[in-house]
């Protein structure tokens, strides 16, 4: 069991919502990962659908590169759509 690969678990909490990352767990294969995810993450009625993906298949950004990746966005407030006056009729923005 120590050799079981790690899986990432995504759960959709309600129909209409997207799957969100809930956590990770160990399992021997995809079938077992689904069953484990069901028991670990949805036993309190948290979900209606589960995705599992082996963690090694996820390509992650390198924290060392966060300077070039993310910092340039910090001083560009004009990229936020906050410079418009919204008519009163428009709701939920």
């Amino acid at each position: 069991m120590k050799n079981w690969p790690l899986w990432e678990v995504f759960v959709r909490s309600k129909n209409g919502l997207e799957h969100r990352h809930f956590g990770s767990l160990h399992a021997a294969d995809a079938e077992m990962a689904l069953e484990n995810a069901r028991d670990v993450y949805t036993r309190r009625n948290e979900g209606v659908s589960i995705w599992v993906v082996e963690s090694k298949h996820i390509k992650a950004s390198n924290p060392e590169n966060s300077g070039e990746l993310f910092e340039p966005a910090q001083d560009k407030v004009y990229r936020h759509p906050t410079f418009y006056t919204l008519p009163d009729e428009v709701k939920h923005m």
Partner: protein, 251 residues
């Protein structure tokens, strides 16, 4: 039929869930991995939830201010009617899974029939419980296949568990007097008729797991009459301790 026959009949079903649930609860925090630990505890909670539904019904049937707790905690050993299979100890994971599997297959077949009981309450409990038990059966069957078809060691361990536990399977299909009386009225299930389907399902899974059913001519019995193995006393002393030490204690 008297109420007492129905009550005894319900004990025959509910005590299996109670004692197996108690056995699985002992494993809480000791599972071989976090994931299997949670899964087993989950099954334990399902079974104890079902037990509560049955005992609340028994409390209602017996009147005289009895509660589900009195029924769960204050009977003596001979008054528990669970089969010997469910009281067998937690030795290793393969053994626990085999015990679970041999019971789950029976439990599923029983609930399938009980859904059509003329007793509306029992039918309703069965309808709710069968979804849980369907998952239990899937979980334990999957593990039987993994272990049977896994390493040499896991195969050997789970085959030994099958060899050891097989002698408790025949009792599942014995009809008690209360079984007969309730069955005549369309309330109880004729468990003897489930035997063929049980062996078919069990052999199917065991075969896929490259495991074999041992040749056996002699089977253990007694649990349904309240005559239990040595393990039962220890289970009950754990189970009943709080209620016996602090009578009428509530959560």
């Amino acid at each position: 039929m008297k109420n007492e026959n129905l009550i005894q009949y319900i004990y025959g079903i509910a005590d299996n869930a109670l004692i197996l649930g108690q056995r699985l609860s002992e494993l809480c925090g000791h599972g071989p991995s976090l994931e299997t630990d949670i899964a087993m505890t989950n099954i334990a909670l399902d079974l104890l939830g079902q037990t509560r539904s049955y005992f609340q019904y028994v409390a209602q049937l017996s009147g005289d201010n009895k509660t589900e707790d009195d029924i769960a905690f204050l009977r003596t050993e001979r008054q528990y009617k669970n089969v010997l299979l469910v009281e067998q100890p937690n030795t290793h994971f393969g053994y626990v899974i085999t015990r679970q599997f041999l019971f789950d297959v029976f439990h599923f077949l029983l609930l399938q029939e009980l859904q059509n009981s003329k007793d509306e309450m029992l039918a309703a409990i069965a309808k709710k419980a069968i979804k849980e038990v369907s998952y239990h059966q899937r979980f334990s069957s999957d593990w039987i296949k993994r272990l049977g078809d896994g390493t040499e060691e896991s195969h050997q361990k789970v085959q030994e568990a099958v060899n050891d536990l097989w002698k408790y399977t025949d009792e599942l299909f014995h009809m008690t007097g209360d079984d007969v009386k309730t069955e005549e009225l369309g309330i109880g299930i004729n468990v003897a008729l489930l035997k063929e389907r049980y062996y078919q399902k069990v052999s199917e899974v065991l075969e896929e797991a490259s495991l074999t059913i041992p040749e056996m001519k002699w089977f253990q019995k007694g649990g349904k009459q309240g005559i239990h193995s040595e393990h039962m006393g220890y289970i009950l002393s754990d189970l009943q301790y709080m209620q016996r030490t602090y009578p009428n204690m509530k959560w």
